[in-house]
Structures are given as structure tokens and as C-alpha cells.
């Protein structure tokens, strides 16, 4: 049970909505990239935002990581910041995937593109299910190869109360890689989300 007091039904509802959103994003991406893409969400967790830096420090300790952040805003108080984290040794696979020739665009631009695509297609799928619509700010790179992941996350998550951690497993036809997505949301968004989930549950 999460510290934010989501009931089992609410949590199940949220997990399903997220799975479906990821599936919709998979579908769209596959058609766009003209390859087989499978995005799975093995787990989601709701945590206090201050717990985030430590959670990720471990996983990204020895790897060079890049973080891309994008703000999203919708109706009914649904808003937040989506951060996608990549391990840099995956970077070249992403570039081939997006159809870039090596040296076509900078690594940073390529990662910003794929992050924006992942974030917006996923969140759009989420919004569609809760009868909402979202607009987005431009993606920004929060760190690069040389910054410390935990420090960057501390500076960002400081402004938010809660975080929804979404582990994304990104499988391509030949190989797979993982990236992580963190949705940072303010306190009032959590109660709004609960209200929305209840409304959906009531319909069934």
C-alpha cells in the first residue's frame, strides 16, 4: 500500500490505465518507427518526491546517465514534470532507431526527441482514458554525462511533493533496453487523480 493512501482498487485502476497508455504509445511508436516496439511497464510505485534521488542513485551509480525533463499540464489539476532517464551506452541504439545517420544530429538532440515522443505519446494515452487533454513544455536536458544523477534529481524533485515512478522496459525487434520515467506531481494532483480514478471505478 503506498504512503499516499491509494486503495487496492484505485491502484489497480491506475496500473491498468498506465499499461494501456503504454500499449497505445507502443503501437504509435511502432508504426512511426516502422519496427516492432514493445513497451512494458513492469512496475509503478508512488513515493514521496524526496525519496526519488536515493532510489535512482543506485541504479545509475556506475553508468553515465542523461535525464530529460518535460512539463505537462491538463485539466482538473492534472499536471507535473516527467523525467526520463537513460543510460548512455544505449544512446547509439536509439539513434539508429529514429532513423538518424551517425553524426546527423547531436546525441542531446536525439535523446530530447525520443524522450519527447515517449513522454507525449504515453501521457496522451493516459489523458485520453481519463477524458482529459494535456499540453507540454519543451523538453530540457537536465544533466549530461558528467553530472551526478542524484544531485540533479534532488534539485528537481525538491519542488514537488510526490512522484510516480514508472519503470519502462523498451523492447525492440533485435534487442531491448530500459529507461526509467518519473512523473513528479504536486500534492493536489494526487487527490485529483484519486477523484478521477473513483469516477472510473464507479462507471464499472
Amino acid at each position: 500500500m503506498s504512503p499516499l493512501g491509494f486503495s487496492i482498487e484505485q491502484r489497480d485502476c491506475l496500473q491498468e490505465i498506465i499499461n494501456v497508455a503504454m500499449g497505445l504509445a507502443s503501437d504509435k511508436l511502432a508504426r512511426f518507427l516502422n519496427t516492432f516496439v514493445h513497451l512494458q511497464v513492469p512496475s509503478i510505485a508512488l513515493v514521496g518526491a524526496t525519496a526519488i534521488p536515493d532510489e535512482f542513485e543506485h541504479r545509475y551509480q556506475d553508468a553515465e546517465a542523461t535525464l530529460v525533463s518535460q512539463g505537462f499540464f491538463g485539466n482538473e489539476g492534472v499536471r507535473g514534470e516527467a523525467i526520463v532517464l537513460y543510460q548512455m551506452d544505449n544512446a547509439h541504439r536509439i539513434s539508429a532507431l529514429l532513423g538518424y545517420e551517425p553524426g546527423d544530429v547531436s546525441e542531446i538532440e536525439m535523446l530530447t526527441d525520443i524522450s519527447s515522443i515517449l513522454t507525449t505519446t504515453f501521457l496522451n494515452g493516459l489523458a485520453a482514458q481519463i477524458e482529459n487533454s494535456l499540453s507540454y513544455s519543451a523538453p530540457r536536458v537536465l544533466s549530461s554525462r558528467h553530472s551526478n544523477v542524484a544531485d540533479v534529481l534532488k534539485a528537481t524533485s525538491f519542488h514537488w511533493e510526490h512522484a510516480l515512478k514508472v519503470d519502462i522496459s523498451y523492447q525492440l525487434i533485435d534487442h531491448s533496453f530500459n529507461c526509467d520515467m518519473i512523473l513528479l506531481i504536486p500534492g493536489e494532483a494526487v487527490s485529483n487523480i484519486k477523484t478521477i480514478l473513483d469516477r472510473i471505478l464507479e462507471a464499472y
Binding site: K28, L29, R31, F32, G99, D104, V105, S106, I108, E109, T112, D113, S116, I117, T120, T121, N124, S135, Y136, A138, P139, R140
Partner: protein, 323 residues
């Protein structure tokens, strides 16, 4: 609805570009900002391909971005930090900049409209030239700050701290790869008298002049640093004692023959120079080499100034004097 009639005047005055194209890249609309900056009229270009009207667009890259917007029905973004501009428009910012073109942040959004058969994309162009210019300024400042950390404020040669660091590294390298390494330490002769005669400004002037002059006599790999008030050191990697002595003698001669003009007066200076070579058996720390060069320098002063002395093993006169 009243607010719809506001969009026209707003679009006309908006300080950002608004461009609408269809899925065949034809222009459907552009606002006054674009008209003014690109020096064109909507009525002349409507219906034409955006690539015909704006000849410098990165076509392949832009098509790929626009395609993603249409396929995924999600916005795409471009930041001036990755690509300075998409539309080559002159900027009208009242600041000097190395670039005469507007730096841009662009957003490409799918427009949901049932009315047309073609899908539409809206491109928003935000003038980010200010940010671009500030960033350049900041970068330049950072470079200078970095240099300042290494430089001696007056003479612009390496400061003592950084120079000693380099000596440590060169020592380590020389020991490791069994290369030779030599050190020159030199001192301006009778600098106090020079200061008394020409004032501190004169003294400073001489230091600046000579540093610059001596720098020009050195190889790229040699490292000149200010060790003390009027004392300097030169690290000569891959150089043996004889080679270093030759360099030292050349510098001594050149400086002695170098007249400097200060306040309509000619100043001549001379140097006392000590030279030492790294002895792998004896020198383990950089201070060890400095000590030897320093002894040689002391000898140069003691034996008449304006000369070069090299450290000979077994030379104990320095020790006698100090103790």
C-alpha cells in the same frame, strides 16, 4: 463568441511567429511577426510549399520532425541550444551578437480540426536571441575565469600554483617513461634598485615586458611560470642539461640586449639563471629539482649576476652559505 474576434489582433501583435502548414508542407497561414521578419506577405505565399518560400530550411531534418507530429499527433520541439535556428531570419535585438540571425525555440503542434481534409501543423517560432547572446557571453566569461585560475594576474604567464602542478606532472611523466626533464629558475638582477629608480609601475612594466619576451623565445612544450615577485621558472620537458643550458644562455643574452622603453626612458635588465636536470636517482619530489635549480641560481648571483649556472652534483657551497 467574443473571444474569437480577439485572436486576429492578438496574432498580429504577438512577438512570436505563428505558421500553419498542411501535410504537404504548403503554407496555410502565417502571422505578422513572420511577415515582418521574413519580409513577405501572406497573400503572396499562401498555398506554396514552405521549402520554396524559405529556401534555407534544413529540409530532411524538418520533414522528419513534421512527420512525427502528424503520425503521433504529439508536439515536437526544437531548441536554439541544439539548432540555432530553423528559419533564417534576421534578428532585431538591440544587442551586438556574433550572429545576425535570430536564435529560435520552435514548437510544432498538430492542429485538430475537422473542417479540412488535410491535417494541419502549427509551427510556433519564439525569438530566443537574448538567451543565445547571454549564453555566449557566459561561455566567454567562464573561459576567462578558467584562464585566470592558471594565470598570474600581472604577467599572464602561469601562476605559481598551476606551474608547480605542471612540474609535478612532468616529473612524474619523466620518471615513468624515462625521459629527460630540466628546470630553469631565473631572477631579475637588482630588481629592488629598478623599482626605486622607475617606481613600482616601472618594475611591473619590466616584469610584463620580459615575461612576454621570454615566452616568445620558448618552445610550445616549455612552461613559463612566475615563481615569486621577480623570480620565474621554466619547465623544459624532454630536455637534458646541456640543451637547457643552451636555452638559458640564449635567454640571458637576448634579455641583456633587450632595451625596453618606459616613460620615454630606456630600461635594460639582466637575469641570473640557474639550471638543473632531473636526476631520477635523487629527485623524487618536484621540490628536489627546484632546490637544485635554486642552488644554481644562487651561485649565478653570487658569482656576478647576468650569467647562467648549472647545478653540478657535489656542489655544496650553497649549503655552506645557508647553514
Amino acid at each position: 463568441m467574443p473571444h474569437l474576434s480577439l485572436s486576429n489582433p492578438i496574432l498580429a501583435q504577438l512577438n512570436s511567429g505563428v505558421l500553419v502548414i498542411d501535410d504537404e508542407y504548403r503554407i496555410r497561414y502565417l502571422n505578422a511577426f513572420v511577415e515582418r521578419h521574413a519580409n513577405l506577405a501572406l497573400s503572396d505565399v499562401i498555398g506554396q510549399s514552405i521549402f520554396n518560400v524559405f529556401k534555407d530550411l534544413p529540409e530532411a531534418w524538418l520533414k522528419r520532425k513534421l512527420m512525427s507530429v502528424l503520425d503521433l499527433q504529439s508536439p515536437a520541439f526544437s531548441s536554439w541550444e541544439q539548432r540555432q535556428y530553423i528559419f533564417k531570419l534576421p534578428h532585431l535585438r538591440p544587442i551586438t551578437s556574433s550572429s545576425q540571425y535570430m536564435a529560435q525555440n520552435c514548437t510544432m503542434m498538430p492542429l485538430h480540426t475537422d473542417k479540412t481534409e488535410h491535417q494541419l501543423i502549427c509551427i510556433l517560432i519564439e525569438d530566443a536571441t537574448d538567451a543565445f547572446v547571454y549564453q555566449q557571453h557566459l561561455s566567454r566569461t567562464l573561459v576567462e575565469l578558467e584562464k585566470a585560475n592558471r594565470q598570474d594576474g600581472l604577467t599572464k604567464v602561469l601562476n605559481r600554483r598551476y606551474w608547480e602542478e605542471q612540474l609535478k606532472q612532468e616529473l612524474h611523466r619523466a620518471r615513468r617513461y624515462q625521459h629527460s626533464l630540466s628546470l630553469i629558475l631565473f631572477d631579475l638582477d637588482k630588481f629592488k634598485d629598478l623599482n626605486d629608480k622607475y617606481g613600482h609601475l616601472g618594475g611591473d612594466f619590466v616584469l610584463v615586458e620580459l615575461s612576454s619576451f621570454i615566452s616568445s623565445l620558448l618552445r610550445d612544450s616549455d612552461l613559463l611560470g612566475r615563481y615569486g615577485g621577480e623570480e620565474f621558472g621554466i619547465i623544459l620537458p624532454e630536455t637534458g642539461l646541456q640543451g637547457a643550458v643552451d636555452v638559458a644562455e640564449r635567454i640571458r643574452q637576448a634579455v641583456a640586449d633587450y632595451p625596453m622603453l618606459f616613460n620615454q626612458q630606456t630600461i635594460r635588465a639582466t637575469l641570473s639563471i640557474g639550471v638543473a636536470e632531473l636526476d631520477i636517482k635523487q629527485h623524487f619530489l618536484h621540490e628536489d629539482v627546484i632546490r637544485c635549480a635554486d642552488m644554481a641560481l644562487y651561485n649565478a648571483k653570487r658569482t656576478g649576476r647576468n650569467r647562467v649556472c648549472s647545478f653540478q652534483a657535489g656542489n655544496t657551497e650553497y649549503h655552506k652559505k645557508v647553514n
